[in-house]
Symmetry: C2
Subunit: 426 residues, 2 copies
């Protein structure tokens, strides 16, 4: 079943990757009448579980070519796609969005840093690292601590090492426990020997992290959502606050302007998320992502056009949708896999969550639960910016409960409102 249907003039969008971003894009594609075709490694990934049009395979040339057949546009759930394969698709006339010339800036932090520096945009001091000595030199020149990064392949804190001095390294690279505490020289030598391209940056004394998300179409139309605050824990985003609380309007406009300018000058098509540090001296650009992004999940309920719908509109060169908020304050909290698997099934946890918080919106990715893995998110809307603290508390409680099966405020079903009393009440 699936692809033998008569022509209905609706577009087909191909997405490389079958994760939660593709899964949520499928919800938007359904509304627009479209077909979302995903290239997925395994049938039980979040997206192939919910779309019938699945091309099994990896992001190699064979997989990408199979995905592209009959697609009006090909786009991405993740950036782990070799440039040469994308260029081969472009050479065959496939509408790859964003174009590899743009996408490279979300794949390679050195290419990105150099380009943004050339544009005169605010970024941390940085240097390419090709020998261990260069890290010490950078630390001496810019002051310790410094941040060592793999130029390619890192995410959610992986591929990032916080270096306090030339003699020690606190690896936040959970995938490589051996590097923690190793002297800088041997860590860097080891990474370079493994072929990891490296850069080093000044460790920015920041107040908080922000994200500016925009969409841009091939026609050149662009639209920005309100700038959000992304609350981090252990290198991973745990909450997104929309709009960023207390952000001065001129700074919000500056952040949106940076994102719009990058989208324009790099000729980005589809979504662009710009992760920013807010410092006492102003904004600094941290990372770029050119796809739907965790910092934009709040838009599903919190904005008139979600990032997923907007991404589809942008890659198909449709006019973009209204980005205004649906409520004065919106908080998204990620549901992370717990250290200890809860006794209750996730289905039972959903029951209890809904009993306590009928207003919390739940998004679950149908992934197996592993510690710190993003398995879902919750969104809570507030009717008043003054309610931010309460909205954040509710979002955190809900996300923690879904994660651990424990109420972090000690709430018990027996102490709470009697659910039976709610029966039949409109």
């Amino acid at each position: 079943m699936g692809t033998s249907s008569p022509r209905r003039d609706f577009p087909v969008v191909g997405m490389v990757g079958g994760g939660q971003l593709a899964r949520m894009t499928q919800q938007a594609a359904i509304g627009l009448g479209q077909t979302l075709r995903v290239l997925a490694v395994a049938p039980d990934e979040p997206a192939p579980l919910v779309t019938p049009d699945v091309v099994p395979g990896h992001a190699d040339l064979a997989g990408l070519e199979a995905l592209a057949v009959g697609c009006d546009a090909v786009t991405f759930d993740h950036e782990g796609v070799p440039q040469e394969h994308l260029r081969a698709l472009v050479a065959k006339g496939v509408a790859v969005r964003p174009h590899p010339d743009a996408l490279i800036h979300a794949q390679d932090k050195l290419v990105m840093r150099r380009r943004l520096a050339a544009m005169g945009l605010p970024i941390p001091a940085f240097a390419e690292i090709t020998s261990p000595e260069q890290v010490a030199e950078f630390g001496e020149a810019h002051g310790w601590p410094v941040v060592l990064k793999a130029a390619r392949g890192g995410y959610d804190g992986r591929g990032v090492w916080f270096l306090r001095s030339a003699d020690s390294a606190d690896g936040t690279d959970s995938a490589d426990g051996t590097s923690a505490g190793a002297p800088v020289r041997s860590l860097v030598a080891e990474l370079l020997a493994a072929g990891t391209p490296l850069l080093v940056e000044e460790a920015v004394a920041m107040r908080r992290e922000l994200a500016a998300q925009v969409a841009r179409s091939p026609f050149g139309q662009a639209a920005a959502w309100p700038v959000v605050e992304t609350v981090q824990e252990d290198g991973q985003c745990v909450q997104v606050l929309a709009p960023a609380p207390g952000l001065a309007e001129e700074r919000a406009l500056e952040a949106q302007g940076i994102a719009l300018r990058i989208a324009h000058e790099l000729d980005v098509t589809g979504l662009l998320a710009v992760e920013l540090f807010e410092t006492d001296a102003g904004l600094l650009i941290n990372e770029l992502a050119m796809r739907p992004h965790n910092s934009g999940h709040w838009t599903i309920e919190g904005a008139r056009t979600s990032q997923f719908e907007q991404h589809l509109r942008a890659v198909l060169d449709y006019p973009l949708g209204t980005t205004t908020m649906t409520a004065p304050v919106v908080v998204m909290a990620n549901v992370l896999g717990a250290e200890k698997t809860p006794e209750m099934t996730v289905d039972e946890r959903i029951h209890h969550l809904f009993a306590r918080f009928p207003e919390v919106k739940v998004h679950l990715y149908a992934k197996g639960e592993r510690p710190l893995r993003k398995v879902g998110h919750v969104t809570v809307l507030g009717t008043d910016v003054a309610a931010l603290a309460e909205v954040r508390r509710k979002a955190a409680l809900a996300a923690d409960w879904l994660s651990t099966g424990e109420w972090s405020d000690g709430w018990s079903v027996h102490s709470g409102a009697d659910v039976a009393e709610l029966g039949e009440r409109a």
Copy 2:
């Protein structure tokens, strides 16, 4: 791919029918981490195009049994399911929601009328018809015109005949053009001979039609959305206005109370839509539907919990979600297949619609276009109840445009705002 995934503790809901209601339920199921399995006749129906878990087949016993395997609950996209098969499923322990004892009231207008009459609820005068003479007798007793209805199987004006006198019939049954203008006697005799169970009702002098929608779980919890006005043309709903404009609070509460009482006394599980006539003398109940309903499509963007999410929550006995509106006024307009197929593809029409109205939300069911067939809907939100007329106008323009490829107000892309000027504007 699809069903071989490792256990993740997420429920599977089976839905009988692969139409647009199942398609939109899939969007909600994705959010909740669930699997929606649909029983569909053809692979190119709206729902099998967007879910990988499809059981091909009709709503016969074999099809229903195949659907039910491994489902936590079985529910409905349409009511055309034989009672005896549903009872066979129940006997095997399948959680059929609603139970056939409740569903019969949405399948058989005579059973429904008798039950509501016994409950003392306000309904039009009616009588079962087993001979042509009874129609004339009813007309003499209650006054002409009267409305003849097939007790089973009608929808969207089909199976309904408006009788002006004993001598003439204006058939609104577009599937049966031969009945228009035929004398009542021969029409009724023909229908009875074909085995169509019939009833006749007084033709109600109404101000307008309303709909009250509620959800109810097996636990007995119920939740109501605001009462809406359903604007009809030629026996088919063209617009839904939420909340029903100018409806007195006590009348809204009365309508919600009627729906909640029916849900409770009939032991409905899942959604219940009660179609109502508002008359000078008060409310009269027209029809019941026990599934997601066209009058509730506005809830996707217009309420904190959509009817589709709520239906899944209800049939799985989850606590229900908040039903408050996301905007003071919401208008849904159905997109109907046009008499004349437009020259532009639907994809091109979407482009132009988005260029003119970036705030209109589009839902397309990926169906082939046939005259008056519901192929999609649009939703427009207003920030002020005073803006109702403008919101309605916009929804009607958008729906007409998607249907016909013509702007009913004569708007032209050249006279409108220059889209190029919107480029890069946030």
